[in-house]
């Protein structure tokens, strides 16, 4: 087959067809992957909730309060057992990470102390910033049982109470920022919201 001439009409038609086909392909792949993406995100959320609050018997991902703070939404998932609130998992975020935004799930007990913290999603450096993940280092364990009212949520370099991850001060600061945001927002909610 001979090569097509570069006439105006030919070029216009070709580009139009190429983009049309591309858009069609993307649209269909998008609708195919929409459900798996939603499920994957939901599963991660549920997993994080299970990690940070005591045992529960309700469906916290449906028992949710939303609050718009600092340009994004915080989600408050209430965990209940036999109808009583046993903990609140707060999905929080920070924009200060070494590689931009990351998301944490912070679990609070009914007395407002931190029960545990898990990472939902992040892009921090493997071997450095990713030590904030629960199973990669002791970093996140230091928050357990602490009350942010008395435990200052910033790294020791900034005169706080948190031991930063070696060589990852930026990540550690961002982590504190996210936890603080969760705590502040929780304090601003009235108990009637739950």
């Amino acid at each position: 087959m001979a090569k097509k001439e570069s006439t105006f009409l030919n070029m216009l038609l070709t580009l139009f067809l190429v983009t049309l086909l591309a858009a069609g392909l993307l649209g269909s792949v998008y609708s195919l992957t929409k459900e798996p993406i939603r499920l994957a995100e939901l599963e991660r959320k549920n997993e994080a909730i299970r990690m940070v609050v005591p045992e529960f018997d309700n469906e916290p991902s449906l028992d949710v309060v939303k609050k718009y703070v600092d340009g994004d939404t915080l989600y408050f998932y209430t965990a209940r057992k036999d109808g009583d609130v046993v903990g609140i998992a707060v999905e929080t975020f920070t924009n200060e990470g070494f590689s931009g935004k990351f998301k944490l799930m912070v679990g609070f007990k009914p007395d407002n102390t931190i029960s545990d913290i898990a990472v939902i999603s992040h892009a921090e450096t493997p071997g450095l910033g990713d030590k904030m993940e629960q199973d990669k280092s002791e970093f996140s364990h230091q928050f357990r049982g602490k009350d942010p009212a008395t435990f200052k949520l910033s790294v020791k370099k900034d005169r706080g109470d948190v031991d930063a991850i070696t060589a990852s001060t930026i990540t550690s600061r961002a982590y504190c920022d996210a936890v603080q945001r969760a705590y502040d927002a929780l304090m601003n909610l009235s108990t009637s919201d739950f």
Binding site: A22, L26, Y30, G71, N95, G100, K101
Partner: protein, 190 residues
Amino acid sequence: MEYVLIIIAAVFVSNIVLNQFLGICPFIGVSSKVETALGMTGAVTFVMVIATLVTYLIYQGILVPFDLTYMRTITFILVIASLVQLVEIILKKISPPLYQALGIFLPLITTNCAVLGVAVLAVQKDFNLLGSTVFAIGNALGFGLALITFSGIREQLDLLNVPRRMKGVPIAFIVAGLMALAFMGFAGMV
């Protein structure tokens, strides 16, 4: 003040080349002479700032309202590619001297990941319009700083007695590593 911080962070602390690893190809490819490094910096600055501005408007104005954000990559690269062509045509008409200086670098910019990278990062970081523009300017400056300093070092390197197999690219990478190490010293600034 917030904008000053964005610039300082982009130029020194998380330098686009030495810390984010964007635009490595021109960093290694066109850094053997200071003169070409200057030309490349000019062209990149020009395109990066305009591209970030335009992609920001398209993203917030079209992709977000119509829930088409998954089209981000394809839209951005098309915008950048057309923009580069447009800039080339316009420069040729209105400023031949500038075209002479930047012309040969323009086609290379479409595949410069620094341009697309900064456009995507600006959207990801949730800046407003002014913030995005400042962010693009800061990163362009950072790119220029790294590229021009590096080309200066490489000009000197040519005169030195480097082991034969280390000549050219391998030693360039080692030097880049040492520069990155020096830039890490800025980490405490912000």
